[in-house]
């Protein structure tokens, strides 16, 4: 069927590796838990229905992250607890995050997917690489976790790529409705990893360390950039946050690679946030990341899937717009069944976030 697929999409001139394993759709926290296999299943249905899988997008199978690579981020004590509870078949590491007999294997395979995507992005065999994985990772701290996360996929991939290759500086853009408290904690004192998070201001409640005042410590001073936006912030607010803060700071930081942790729970249809991004809004953000990587990182761009729970609408359409952007498709290419509600621009929030960075970066 490859020819037919190619024939349909003459505008797609970029190659993309989708790091994916069928096991990502088999792991469950519970049949009604929001972090569920359907998050990927419906999105894969969408890719199939739009004829993107196969010749247009190449699937790449990941391997489980090695113990050594996850130990670079997580404490032994925490890993032992995770392993033991998973072996036992039950347990929980926080109120919303349950452990099952699949957790240990699934979390390692997700981390392995993130590593593979970062490696592929580094090697540049494809124009970009996307870890289409679950469970997500950005709420996993070195010694504990919450928010449906167990192992910090992006942090593990960041450490791995720096160890395996001559990549020394990594920029992470975290665009999920929730603050990446885990990732921030891992790199809070690291001068070579820039962590930028755009999130809903109230969605930092877990540890509440997503305010603009958190900017890094010690050698990591100025290497943490938090951009909390108000509820109902939409495409314009996110664009402004990237253009006015994430982009210029990253440019000054001058990374070797850009990792974009993308969560589709800021879509207007998602029940787990109050944000109003559209599918094409996600596409535009991905395009910005792509342009940044092309201009400043030799084109090295890796994506890692984070949240997104409106699995029959917001998630598959946002994911589709993401793929469209990565493949080089036109802007505003995706139509959605539901109309977006009104959005707020969040100018004051952006100004505050910019001011908080003013003594670390010239903006």
């Amino acid at each position: 069927m490859t020819y037919l697929e190619r024939e349909s999409f003459s505008e797609y001139d970029q190659s993309l590796a989708l790091v994916y394993d069928k096991k990502y759709t088999q792991y469950m926290q519970g049949t009604t838990h929001p972090e569920r296999p359907e998050r990927l299943v419906y999105s894969l249905d969408m890719m199939r229905e739009e004829s993107l899988i196969g010749d247009v997008i190449q699937k790449v199978t990941p391997e489980s992250a090695s113990l050594d690579s996850i130990q670079q981020v997580h404490t032994n004590r925490y890993l032992q607890r995770l392993y033991r509870q998973s072996r036992k078949g039950s347990g929980s590491i926080s109120a919303d995050t349950k452990i099952t007999d699949q957790t240990w294997t699934a979390a390692r395979l997700a981390a392995g997917g993130a590593i593979r995507a970062a490696e592929l992005a580094w090697e540049q065999q494809y124009d970009s690489a996307y870890a289409f994985t679950r469970p997500p990772g950005h709420h996993a701290l070195p010694d504990r976790a919450h928010g449906f996360c167990f192992l910090n996929n992006t942090a593990i991939a960041t450490k791995a790529i720096r160890q395996e290759t001559d990549c020394s500086r990594v920029a992470i853009w975290d665009i999920d409705a929730h603050h990446c408290d885990g990732t921030q904690r891992v790199f809070y004192e690291d001068s070579d990893v820039l962590v930028t998070s755009i999130h809903e201001e109230d969605a930092t409640k877990f540890l509440n360390i997503g305010g603009t005042e958190y900017t890094g410590e010690g050698e990591g001073r100025g290497r943490t950039v938090n951009i909390p936006l108000p509820p109902q912030a939409g495409d314009d607010a996110y664009q402004a946050a990237v253009e006015q803060i994430a982009q210029p700071i990253s440019e000054s930081f001058s990374p070797d690679i850009l990792l974009l942790e993308i969560g589709f729970d800021a879509h207007f249809g998602d029940a787990l946030s109050q944000m109003h991004l559209t599918a094409n809004g996600y596409g535009d953000l991905v395009r910005k990341a792509q342009n940044f990587a092309n201009t400043h990182c030799d084109g090295r761009l890796g994506l890692i899937l984070s949240g997104g729970y409106d699995f029959t609408a917001g998630l598959p359409y946002s994911n589709l717009a993401t793929l469209n952007a990565l493949l080089g498709g036109p802007e505003d290419f995706v139509t959605e069944p539901n109309q977006p509600p009104t959005q707020v621009t969040g100018e004051n929030h952006i100004t505050r976030a910019r001011e908080a960075q003013a003594h670390h970066w010239s903006l």
Partner: protein, 495 residues
Amino acid sequence: MILYLEIEFGRVVGALIENDEVTDYATLSDINTADDLAEVLSQFSANDRSDVDQVQAAIGKLATQDQRGELPSCTAILAPGYGLPVETETIANHTKSIDGGLTPQGQVTQPPPTEINTDTENAVVSAKFGHKNPDYEMDIGAEIAASSIRFGHKVSGEMGFRERTKTAVANVRLSQLYHSIKDQLKQAVSSADIEAPLYAIRSDGTLANLDTIDETPAMLLSGVVAARAFGANSRVERDGAVLTMTPDTTYIVPPFIQGIPLEQGYFAGDLRSGYTSIQTVSVPIGYDTPVSQLISANIDSSKDLQSVLRPGDFNDEDSTLASGQIDNKEKVRTELIAELRSSVKELSQSASTVDTLIAGDPYIASVINELADSFGAHGIVPDTVTTVGAFSCSNSEIQITVRLQIDTARNIISVNTNGEIYSEQMDLSKKLNRLDVEDFVKEYVTNSLQKHQQPIASVDIIESRVVTLVEDDTQIGELHTIIAEGTAKPETGMK
């Protein structure tokens, strides 16, 4: 004894094959009716005919009619819905798009119009995510006054919206021609006193019972090329690219890898089909191509390439261009080789190095050595090259792809195969508790296909997905989607 038939415009090849050897063959040109076809069969002895216990037909006419632009047109009523835009105008001769559509869960966002004006014989109704809610397309179909309608959701397999729709268009446009060939074939076989099961060779070289593909004739578009490529490969026992000529097109089949061909859809003419098909590179020159198209000067344009190349009376020893009858045959030859050369070169650049070229018909046989020499490659003409497709027969299997949806909340199983859907109500919760889903599916597919006269020896699960069905935060069941492939040896014996 197997009777192999290659049914082309203007030419039919029949061969009897037993123990992997062709025991007799017959060819006839100017074939149009069942009587003509019967005449080919009458060239075999009555004894041999009564020994035939299986018929395998490769129907080249379907692809040729398409390449000649002579198929009836079709109107597609499309609900492209949401997601990526669809270039509807490339899908069928005429298209109408409906506003609204289906969500990824199959919910209707806007009811379709109740009056749809179509002045058409052949229609296709296809919606994005149409397979998630078959009623939607059926409701639209009920509003259309066309004598023949195909539905996107019924196209077998796992294609995306575009491929599914284009394949449905191919099915409906080929329908009339397929039925007339099928009728002629049945009539000819019966008047030749052959009583044996009839199979058609599909584009991937597998077989289908002639009566099971009424809805999906696009599965046969590359049947002749597949038969010849499999036959040539099994005959020479060496990996190489097979080149073979049909009336309007020469196909170059990339070397098999350990006996397995590369696969793709069909795209040699106007039609597109997403059904599994042997991979080819096509060159628009065939044995009916007017020579004037090949070389513009000094040639009598009324003569076609067939008369230029004239491979004797399909006598293998004489099947060379040297037996051509016209003065500038060398020029024709040079032009032909040059055309093929550039395509083979392209292939060897994109695929692995092609170091062996195998002739898949008598026309190509006459130029294969010279062509191969020009690459420093090895050229091979299989013995009995005229009937090389027949050597695919002994190893052919019937293969059926089945898509099952098992809804344990509504207790419904629907089976989609060969362009048809069967649904049945069944208490699934018990069954699925008792048996592993895959074992259940294997047993179910075997039984259900047997009910539809399709014997199955083994079932492989190609893909299996499941979503949890949740209502008011409670799990009410599961929806399994399973793609299974059933394989069987074709039946032999008198009917």
